[in-house]
């Protein structure tokens, strides 16, 4: 049984992009497009989710993702409650479900969940009543579907189509839920060549089975690319002896103007944020003419509005 879709194929929860049909991805992107102008209006609101209560359950800290979900919900006229819940690694599943049950008793309509453990959003989605939708805002190393969607939206806005693109994802693919969501979305939307570029220690084994080509060298990997997606290198990864040092990493895999020159001249540079300047990306590139990192943030609001609107409209039918 597909937890994410209703029996008639509509979106019920958004937990992962893995296995979501192309038609649904395209529907979300098209809907997001129509929400783009709401942010430009005198009244930056539409009444779609008036009277709905959305709870942002963040078991893991995040400023930007939580803020854009909050803005998206408010632009749809929903009532939003943010809960930042500190958890220890001992926190049991029952404690999470107790929290969810209590909020459901307050008549929650939607949960936006971020959790350090893979599968947390699925766990909650299986538990909630049929009228409640769950959006995964990042779970462990597993998935971050709205980030993947906003990246696709950004690519479509700047490149128009997917079928003629070469896209490189650079950096810590091993620990990245963002990379996994991006790869699923890119292949589903018909991007013919998806590459991952990273040192061997940061590439998960068997990643080729997801339909990507693996490179360990920036010059070869970036050659001919239309889109370069940089991943955040988490500093804690440096401790586990996967990498010698930040300087060493930057030397070989940090995106500089010189390395970006291997890609197509009109290639766009993306990053899910927050950036480590001087580790995975040079400031000159991050703030340069090919960077679309700030538009990504803006588009993230429209994409999250689209997901929430489709869920709210589909769940009660």
């Amino acid at each position: 049984m597909n937890l994410q879709l209703t029996s008639d194929g509509r979106l019920r929860h958004l937990l992962t992009l893995d296995g979501l049909p192309r038609a649904i991805l395209t529907q979300i992107l098209d809907t997001a497009e129509s929400f783009m102008d709401v942010g430009e209006r005198e009244v930056k609101k539409v009444p779609l989710l008036r009277g709905k209560s959305i709870f942002n359950l963040f078991f893991e800290p995040s400023t930007r993702t939580r803020t854009t979900f909050e803005i998206a919900a408010k632009r749809l006229s929903a009532d939003v409650v943010n809960l930042n819940i500190a958890t220890s690694s001992q926190t049991k599943g029952e404690a999470i479900l107790d929290t969810v049950d209590n909020l459901a008793a307050m008549h929650a309509d939607m949960f936006v969940v971020r959790h350090g453990q893979s599968g947390a959003a699925h766990f909650i989605a299986r538990h909630v009543a049929p009228h409640i939708s769950v959006i995964n805002a990042g779970d462990g190393r597993h998935a971050h579907p709205t980030q993947g969607l906003l990246d696709m939206f950004t690519i479509r806005r700047f490149k128009g189509e997917f079928h003629n693109l070469t896209v490189a994802i650079v950096g810590d693919v091993l620990h990245s839920r963002v990379a996994r969501s991006q790869i699923h979305a890119l292949t589903t939307l018909g991007v013919p060549e998806v590459r991952v570029i990273a040192p061997k220690t940061l590439i998960p084994t068997g990643v080729e089975q997801m339909g990507v080509k693996v490179y360990h060298d920036m010059e070869a990997g970036l050659a001919g690319c239309d889109v370069v997606i940089m991943l955040r290198l988490q500093s804690e990864r440096m401790k586990g002896a996967r990498l010698p040092s930040a300087q060493e990493y930057f030397k070989f895999f940090g995106l500089t103007k010189e390395k970006l020159a291997f890609a197509k001249p009109d290639a766009i540079v993306m990053h899910p944020g927050p950036m480590n300047r001087g580790v995975e990306i040079d400031s000159e590139v991050a703030d340069g003419p090919q960077s679309v990192i700030l538009p990504q943030v803006t588009y993230g609001i429209a994409v999250r509005m689209a997901v929430m609107a489709l869920l709210a409209g589909g769940a009660t039918a």
Partner: protein, 164 residues
Amino acid sequence: MHASLPDVDPLIAQLAAAIAPTLTPDTVIVGIHTGGVWVAERLHAMLHCALPLGTLDISFYRDDFSRIGLHPQVKPSNLPFDLEGRDILLVDDVLHSGRTVRAAMNELFDYGRPASIRLAVLVDRGGHELPIRPDFTGLTLAVPAHQNINLSRLDDGHLTLSLA
């Protein structure tokens, strides 16, 4: 094609003739997707409006959203002018319950405060559920509740009415 339905072009010409004397320099024409935009495009050309045509997709303002969800093909609303103080001529193809017009007015007010709004419809089919009546009507036709009257556009741009 229903034999008794009139041609669309004379109806639009009749609407344009009725609207023409009421135009002000601040009049903007706004069509409601999809059929209303087709009619509005014709009126906009026939009335030689200086200001660009506006279009509204009222999907985000529908009062039946929680029952039927989002329309699969929402088109962006496009109002390429400041609404403040304008005289708006809102155009739709068919007036039925009036709920679409209510939603359209709600949306317009989220863009600004117009001086006035008037409503032009190609067909007023009856069945009103709200105190909304057209200021300009191409055709008044009592259509039974179980039937629909639809405007469609052929590949050559020709508009036709049909009952289903």
